[in-house]
């Protein structure tokens, strides 16, 4: 699929050419089953420690608003 370029106005008001939509036209026939990418227990637990890190990873291992706070 070739990239489609579209013209838009930037935040400074300047006309710029940017990459347009990259999705396929029409309606998807199936739902976006992204969770099936996590195929086994190891991958699932690893995802919890990355994607849901604020709940399932030790507080000193991530950045966020509560990093320096004591554990609840």
């Amino acid at each position: 699929m070739t990239d489609k370029m579209i013209k838009k106005q930037s935040f400074t008001g300047k006309k710029v050419e940017i990459l347009g939509e990259t999705y396929e036209p029409g309606m998807p026939a199936e739902k976006g089953q992204w969770r099936k990418k996590l195929r086994n227990r190891k991958a699932m637990l690893k995802y919890l420690q990355s994607g849901e890190r604020y709940w399932y990873l030790d507080a000193d291992q991530w950045c966020g608003s509560e990093r320096r706070k004591s554990k609840a």
Binding site: Y23, M27, P28, K31, G32, Q33, W34, R35, K37, L38, R41, M44, L45, Y47, L48, S50, G51, E52, Y54, W55, Y56, C63, G64, S65, E66, K69, S70, A72
Partner: protein, 655 residues
């Protein structure tokens, strides 16, 4: 008599109201005109908690000049307007919490039985969510068998309802600062059922007579709903039936098909509707439908059952709360299957005018005159088959002229907290960072949670849509559940294309980049717990304060009507969120309660209530609150971006 156009803004509903009027069918819209609400009860000034009453102490039409005289408004026992309004309000919270939580308990019971392999038809659909909840409950994962983990998770979840002391497990999901606020106020729920029971005790004649103290317990019970019963329901349902992912579907009465056997599943719990949805696709059932002259089988949802089977399977939605009688009026519904909550008793009368079989399924919710087919989770598939067969056998009995409005709209749903997190960051670094960054840079002004019911005392769907459109225009992204989500769906707001049509330039650009609708459908009313999780993720990701009350966000229920809505509103307020309700508000007879809920709560809980009937003013209140929070965070003004060179960085490090 008001015009049909004044009753609803939805074209399909208008068409059906005309048909109903022509055929002499009375609906909730007609009854709302005939019977006006009790002015004393609606302001919370009626106490019927003992047999010396009911005591009615309506607020004076004019503010009394003598404050001492005002204090003399009291019931026989001396209960003031404040005590009476607080008792009534707390009991509404207890009822709402009980409804959501009993739903959660039912799911937990099925979950345990399914994990033990005692009931066919149910199995673990989302293994990862099981591990997530196992970690919340402190259940060991290791190399253990998935079945053993599931049994432990189910039993721990079930124990949350009868817990007597300590703290509910999901409380630890909230931002740390929020947990500290709750502990300081002593409103951390100890157990789900305990908090409901304690409200019923405290509001009994002659017990708690301090409205502030009553509302602290009200907050504790509400938190037991949002961070307890509702969250248990959402999480266990996700494990059993799958965590929602983006999907497309359709909404409105036009999803019914004249040539098909039409079943409507209505109510709130997905336990049976999941089975009916599955059984309806069974070739044996389709063949049976064809044998009676139908082309196939259509299963459509109504109210929150609809949201459940939409979010996970893409089954279409026939309509929201005020459309339930009208769906039968099409003459095309062969069976309406109901479970619990928001089911109008008049359905049985409307069904009698057509061929529709009204089937109750819960031992907790029977209707005199309806057919009862008790749902037995141990034999769920056969119960579902029996119901689908009943609908098929009823197809040839259609008598009246069928009229299905030609109204159906495309929708995109399935935005669980997990899916939003994934969409914004991908599998390797799922994150709310892009959302936070765009709130900080001002492209998104803030977050609006718009939820709640329909109410026949106001124009159907009108306030929902006015508030949402006003928020979108002002670059506020909307998270929605329940009947508001359906109103938005019918109006075309749940598609990515809505961004360019309805949003301010900043919000539109973000939605276009990510490819999401500006209104994100997050599920049913128990799924308001997903909104709590999304808001918490925003806090934890950083840059927008360290508590839910710091985030530029506000919530509203423009057309609320049920006690569940009051419980939801109170748990959002107690979680630090500014929450506005429309239509009516049940404490307006008490000056003290008004001051507590509309002002004092902001000092103690961080969130507060507001009441505003006008949807445009409601949106304005929310935007003003969002702007206030932006100012407090120092992100209310555009700042010049400075790119630091090495020399500047070194100076910064030295400082």
């Amino acid at each position: 008599m008001s015009e049909i156009g004044d009753k609803t803004v939805d074209a399909a509903t208008r068409t059906m109201l005309e048909k109903a009027a022509g055929e002499g069918i009375e609906t909730v819209f007609d009854r709302a005109e005939k019977m006006k609400p009790c002015p004393i009860g609606s302001e919370g000034s009626c106490c019927r908690n003992c047999a010396m009453g009911p005591c009615r102490i309506p607020a004076p039409k004019k503010k009394p000049k003598d404050p001492e005289k005002a204090k003399k408004r009291m019931g026989l026992c001396g209960a003031t307007a404040e005590t009476i309004a607080a008792r009534n309000f707390a009991r509404m919270i207890a009822s709402g919490c009980a409804a959501h939580s009993d739903h959660g308990r039912g799911v937990a019971e099925v979950f345990v039985a399914a994990a033990k392999g005692e009931i066919p038809g149910y199995s673990i659909q989302d293994e990862q969510k099981l591990y997530q909840v196992a970690m919340d409950f402190g259940v060991e994962i290791g190399e253990r068998d998935i079945k053993d983990i599931a049994i432990d998770v189910g039993e721990k979840a079930l124990a949350e309802f009868g817990r007597q002391e300590g703290e509910l497990a999901f409380i630890k999901r909230a931002p740390l600062k929020r947990q500290e606020i709750w502990r300081k106020l002593n409103i951390v729920p100890r157990g789900i059922d305990r908090e409901v029971v304690e409200i019923m005790h405290r509001t009994h004649m002659g017990v708690d007579q301090d409205y502030r103290n009553l509302m602290l317990q009200g907050s504790r019970a509400a938190l037991a709903d949002g961070w307890g019963g509702s969250m248990v329901a959402t999480e266990l349902q996700d494990i059993l039936f799958g965590t929602p992912v983006p999907l497309v579907s359709k909404i409105n009465l036009g999803v019914l098909k004249e040539e098909d056997v039409n079943l409507i599943v209505h109510g709130h719990e997905p336990l049976l509707s999941e089975m009916i949805a599955a059984v309806s696709q069974d070739p044996e059932m389709i063949q049976m439908a064809q044998s009676v002259g139908a082309k196939g089988i259509t299963v459509a949802g109504m109210c929150c059952t609809a949201n459940e089977i939409l979010m996970r399977h893409g089954f279409p939605i026939a309509g929201n709360f005020l459309q339930q009688e009208l769906a039968i009026t099409t003459g095309a519904v062969d069976a309406m299957i109901v479970d619990v909550q928001c089911i109008m008793e008049n359905l049985v009368n409307v069904a009698k005018c057509y061929h529709t079989k009204l089937i109750t399924t819960s031992p907790k919710a029977k209707i005199d005159g309806a057919t009862h087919v008790e749902f037995d989770e141990h034999d769920a598939i056969n119960t579902a088959k029996r119901i689908v067969r009943t609908a098929i056998e009823n197809f040839p009995n259609r008598t009246s002229k069928v009229l299905i409005p030609d109204e159906r709209t495309d929708i995109v749903a399935g935005f669980s907290h997990e899916t939003i997190n994934y969409l914004l960051g991908g599998i390797f670094r799922a994150s709310y960072r892009p959302l936070n960054d765009n709130i900080i840079n001002g492209r998104i002004r803030g977050i609006g949670g718009v939820v709640g019911c329909n109410n026949a005392r106001t124009t159907h769907d009108s306030s929902h849509l006015t508030v949402v459109k006003e928020l979108l225009k002002n670059d506020v992204i909307v998270l929605t559940t329940g009947c508001n989500a359906m109103a938005c769906g019918k109006a075309g707001l749940l598609t990515p294309e809505a961004a360019s049509k309805y949003c301010g330039e900043g919000l539109a650009s973000v939605c276009e980049t990510v490819g999401i609708p500006p209104v994100l459908h997050m599920g049913s009313c128990v799924d308001n717990s997903r909104i709590l999780m999304a808001a918490t993720a925003v806090v934890k990701d950083g840059g927008l304060g360290d508590d839910l009350s710091d985030v530029p966000a506000a919530g509203c229920a423009p057309e609320w009507m049920s006690e569940k809505a009051i419980s939801i509103g109170q748990y959002f307020v107690a979680s630090g969120v500014f929450t506005v309700f429309g239509v009516t508000f049940p404490i307006m007879g008490s000056e003290g309660m008004k001051d507590l809920l509309f002002n004092e709560f902001e000092e103690t809980l961080g969130g507060k209530w507001a009441f505003e009937k006008d949807p445009e003013k409601m949106a304005k209140l929310m935007i003003e609150h969002i702007d206030k929070k932006r100012k407090a965070l120092g992100i209310d003004k555009a700042r010049e971006r400075v790119l630091y060179d090495m020399e500047m960085r070194q100076k910064l490090d030295a400082a």
